[in-house]
């Protein structure tokens, strides 16, 4: 009996440590529900020659791949099951133009490593989630967009004046995701010391702690965190790479690709794009304009 009580007490202590350890991460990210988040749903949409669209129509709902762990970009509030962020808004705009209302859209969280497989295998109809357009990926899938051009940048604490750009990180501790191209670039080209974790939120935790000097990855992701902690963090604002974000979809479905491009263009023109940006990433204080579409 005594041993059991001691064990229970020890377990409680351990549980408390674990809770304390992730206390910061637990703070709500769902405060950014975006602008009305409802777009006018088009009626009687038909796209000739798009198997993906036909299948979605038959199914009665659209399945969109997204990320779930990037505040203000692609984020899922697990408690309420709601998703928010700039990428989510883009996905919804496109869905509305394809004739699917919010209720007819199902989001599916797909991590970066599985994106091509999920799209090529038809697990999702299209994918919106910090998906950089490049030629290697175009061999397996195709891209609509770009709907945003990100670039690798640095996230530092608000009062940091030493790190003004990538040239200033030599010998500094910089954190990013394990095995990412960002971490390779900052180490090889700019001589930073690196710390690698599986998720950016772990890096941000270490940055808030002061045990790393900066976090590096695409500025879109960093702006999301800066918008989450506007009093503590800032994005340096000197991007040193170009990452055009596209909407990933089936390689051979040109009809759907054109339809998605039209949808992006329409919402860029009518101001929805700007509204969505201001309500999400724009909260970090940085401005942005929609990029030129690349149709092919």
């Amino acid at each position: 009996m005594r041993t059991r009580r001691t064990a229970a007490a020890a377990l409680a202590v351990l549980a408390l440590t674990a809770v304390a350890a992730c206390g910061k991460d637990g703070s709500p990210g769902g405060d950014s529900s975006g602008p009305g988040t409802s777009y006018e749903v088009k009626k009687n949409v038909s796209i000739t020659g798009s198997p993906t669209f036909d299948a979605a129509k038959k199914r009665g709902k659209l399945i969109i791949g997204a990320k779930a762990d990037q505040p203000n970009l692609g984020f899922e509030d697990v408690a309420s099951g709601t998703r928010s962020g700039f990428d989510i808004e883009i996905a919804k705009m496109v869905a509305a133009d394809l004739g699917f209302s919010d209720k007819q859209v199902e989001f599916k969280t797909i991590p970066s490593t599985n994106r091509e497989t999920a799209i090529a295998g038809g697990e999702v109809d299209y994918y919106v989630g910090t998906y950089t357009i490049n030629d290697d990926r175009k061999k397996q899938i195709s891209f609509a967009g770009p709907y945003f051009v990100a670039g690798q940048d640095l996230l530092v604490s608000k009062d940091n004046t030493a790190i003004t750009g990538p040239e200033a990180v030599k010998g500094k501790q910089v954190c990013s995701a394990t095995g990412s191209t960002s971490i390779k670039r900052i180490a090889d080209q700019y001589g930073a010391k690196t710390t690698a974790f599986d998720t950016y939120s772990q890096c941000v935790d270490k940055l808030l702690d002061g045990s790393v000097d900066a976090v590096t990855t695409d500025d879109a992701i960093l702006k999301g965190y800066a918008a989450k902690y506007p009093d503590k963090l800032k994005v340096v604002g000197k991007p040193f790479s170009q990452e055009p974000y596209g909407i990933g979809l089936n390689k051979d479905d040109k009809a759907l690709r054109d339809a998605i491009n039209n949808a992006i263009e329409a919402h860029e023109k009518n101001g929805d794009w700007k509204k969505a940006y201001d309500a999400t990433l724009g909260k970090s204080g940085a401005n942005a304009t929609p990029p030129q579409l690349v149709r092919y």
Partner: protein, 216 residues
């Protein structure tokens, strides 16, 4: 298949492999020493030591290793303990695995007939002497084979350290995946890396088993 021989991938792989070996060896050593000590605690006549051993085993054996890593890597620095990520990884892996080693050793001790310990005590041996000279040498034989399995599991568990800033095989996998190599080729080389280590461990333990075997 020629992922390994393009660019500087071989250096990356070699460094990752060596880091995995290093992690496994150091945390394995820690686990063995700590595990035997904990087992001694658990069978000792001193109640506080017994309680300590029981709590250790029950807490660490029953919590997911990732959670332990998380608590160590993100929790300890917050209370002022910062030992570096490699040491953290060795500690987490070692302490976790020690709880399994402890239970294996304890079950080994239980296979030694009680009469042996009683005989030793009646000869005037202390608890430590009884354990060291009479019980543990006999227990070792039963314990060797399951301990091999535990160390093999440890090798594979060390991949978790890769997610907490240790550039080992799992980190190599992440890097290659990001660079867009074929999943199957990546799997092949990374799995081979782990297999080399685990086969070495099982060969070592088979050798020990044969060496220690006695006709009964």
């Amino acid at each position: 298949m020629n992922v390994l021989f393009t660019d500087d991938n071989f250096t990356l792989f070699r460094d990752g492999f060596l880091r995995t070996v290093e992690l496994t060896a150091l945390s394995g050593l820690l686990a063995l020493v700590l595990g035997v000590l904990l087992a001694a605690f658990r069978v000792s006549p001193v109640p506080p030591l017994r309680i300590f051993g029981t709590v250790w085993v029950n807490v660490l054996r029953n919590t997911p290793l990732v959670l332990l890593f998380f608590a160590v890597v993100f929790g300890l620095p917050k209370i002022g303990v910062d030992l570096g990520y490699f040491t953290f990884a060795v500690l987490a892996l070692g302490c976790y695995t020690a709880s399994f080693v402890c239970e294996t050793v304890r079950s080994g001790i239980n296979t030694v007939p009680l009469g042996q310990a009683e005989a030793a005590r009646s000869l005037g041996m202390t608890f430590a002497q009884t354990l060291r000279l009479v019980v543990l040498p006999q227990a070792t034989r039963t314990v060797v084979s399951p301990t091999g399995s535990i160390l093999i599991a440890l090798t594979k568990n060390s991949a978790i350290a890769g997610a907490f800033n240790n550039a080992e095989l799992y980190g190599v996998m992440k890097t290659w995946n990001e660079l867009g190599y074929k999943i199957f080729a990546i799997f092949f080389w990374i799995a081979l890396g782990y297999l080399v280590i685990t086969f070495a461990i099982s060969a070592l333990f088979r050798f020990l088993e044969n060496r220690l075997a006695v006709a009964r």
